[in-house]
């Protein structure tokens, strides 16, 4: 079975697409490295290789979790299966 996306930790709210792309509406299969679990998420938009999709509903100003840690803040609401990148997430540091 193809792995479409990978997440590092069980607590992560984003996963990384590891196939050429996932298509809008596609049921994407994901591997959670920490627990070796498999999950399925419906991608709402097309997401290319290396880019992220939301594994849960994220609200504006929520902390994004990856590697089990804080990697930034959402600057808009992001639905589960949505595309997560520089248009809706910013650094907290600079």
């Amino acid at each position: 079975m193809t792995t479409h996306f990978i997440a590092h930790d069980a607590a992560d709210t984003v996963g990384v697409v590891v196939v050429e792309k996932v298509l809008a509406g596609q049921e994407a299969t994901g591997w959670i490295m920490e627990t070796n679990e498999t999950v399925t998420i419906k991608a709402l938009v097309e997401v290319p290789l290396g880019h992220k999709l939301a594994l849960a509903d994220i609200k504006n100003e929520d902390t994004i979790i990856k590697y089990g840690n804080d990697i930034g803040r959402a600057v808009s609401d992001i639905p589960k299966g949505g595309y997560v990148h520089v248009h809706n997430v910013k650094t907290k540091r600079w």
């Binding site: 792995t3 290396g50 520089v86 907290k92």
Partner: protein, 390 residues
């Protein structure tokens, strides 16, 4: 451990260090000696000239770093002998003396009062003597603990944090117990993960040194920045590859130190380690050529460079091994990639296997296999400058 290599074949130097390459270096003290250096390099085949942009009117900490880097480059065990050329005799001799401490052959020539042509004639004869001497040196079998390995990632993307960086980390976890010297750096690129990194110190002294170093760099960035550093850090290449914030990049970066390896000390830029075998953190820029130049100057002899989007850097002194977990990069930029670990993302390869393959190619490189960067002629030598000249 998963692989049987416990030794490699290297050049045993006068001070007990072991080199994996055997360069005769033509080294300029300053930018105006570059022409003479290149003339010598052209006259005598089998030499390595490294022109650079600085060495004049620097002062204070910037000058100290400059000398540490230039002298360290000459001292590196991958260098058999050095011809130093400078505009005047004082700083030329300082560089010669610093290199001579290792016991290797080194000579200095200065241009004032002589002119380029007379200087080049004398320096060329010395370079020829060194090349003929160095080319008769033979490799000897040495334990893996004689390898000093530096690491830095570049043009990272999310595959770096998923595959290529953890593969490097797996190598560290395998080699640290064997007594190998290891080095990582990129101070600003740990922003977001600095507390987690600090907790990977083996002593409270190392932890404190690390946090002081990171805080100083962070203060400098906060003082000088004009925006949120979008496109500078992370770079446009990082962003195109899917990395969104510096925090995300930092946690990916940190995967390079594996799961069990802790750092034993913190080094100034280009500072040679003094606490024996183990992992060191060096305060460096996150710009690839600057970082590897500093690590080579501290005496590291092989470099591992995981890349996502395809950084093509090499170094004149340290062979730079490139690995990637990005299947597009492995396919479109294959002439640059020594090890493809994209199988990790397809779950065709696990981290232990990737780490073993990386140890394998590291030993092959140490034994003489030219890396992609070497064969393509990538020799980026970039000095870190702390502030303007006087």
């Amino acid at each position: 451990m998963g692989n049987s290599q416990q030794s490699f074949f290297g050049f045993l130097r006068e001070n007990g260090r072991v080199g994996v390459r055997n360069h005769v270096l033509i080294l300029p003290v300053d930018d105006i000696s570059n022409a003479a250096v290149e003339m010598v390099g052209h006259n005598i085949k089998g030499t390595l000239s490294i022109p650079h942009s600085y060495g004049r009117l620097q002062f204070g900490a910037d000058l100290e770093l400059f000398f540490r880097t230039i002298i360290g480059t000459g001292r590196n065990p991958n260098v058999a002998a050095v011809v130093v050329i400078g505009i005047e005799p004082g700083w030329t001799q300082r560089v010669v003396d610093g290199i001579a401490q290792t016991g290797k052959p080194v000579s200095g020539f200065s241009i004032e009062g002589e002119g380029d042509l007379k200087t080049v004639a004398k320096a060329s004869r010395k370079a020829q003597e060194y090349v003929q001497w160095a080319t008769e040196l033979q490799r000897e079998e040495c334990p893996l603990s004689d390898l000093w390995i530096s690491v830095k990632c570049g043009e990272s993307d999310t595959t770096s944090g998923l595959g290529s960086n953890p593969a490097v980390g797996n190598l560290m976890d395998k080699l640290d117990p064997l007594g190998v010297h290891l080095c990582f750096g990129e101070t600003s690129e740990l922003t977001g993960a600095e507390q987690v990194c600090a907790n990977r110190s083996s002593t409270s002294e190392a932890k404190e040194k690390f946090l002081n170093t990171w805080n100083a760099y962070n203060d400098f960035i906060l003082e000088n920045k004009t925006n949120d550093l979008s496109e500078s850090q992370p770079t446009k290449g990082n962003i195109a590859g899917g990395l969104t914030t510096i925090e995300e990049k930092a946690f990916g970066n940190l995967q390079k130190i594996g799961k069990t390896t802790n750092f034993i000390d913190v080094l100034e830029p280009a500072e040679e380690p003094t606490k024996g075998p183990g992992l060191y953190f060096m305060d460096t820029s996150s710009a690839a050529a600057e970082c590897v130049t500093l690590q080579a100057a501290a005496g590291f002899t092989v470099h591992l460079f995981p890349t996502g989007q395809g950084n093509v850097i090499g170094n004149p002194i340290e062979p730079v091994i490139k690995l990637t977990a990005n299947p597009n990069t492995a396919a479109t930029m294959s002439e640059h990639i020594d090890l493809d670990v994209s199988g990790i993302l397809k779950r065709e390869m696990n981290l232990d296997q990737a780490g073993s393959e990386l140890v394998n190619i590291t030993v092959r490189t140490a034994n003489g296999r030219h890396t992609c960067a070497e064969s393509l002629g990538h020799r980026e030598f970039v000095l870190t400058k702390l502030f303007r000249s006087a």
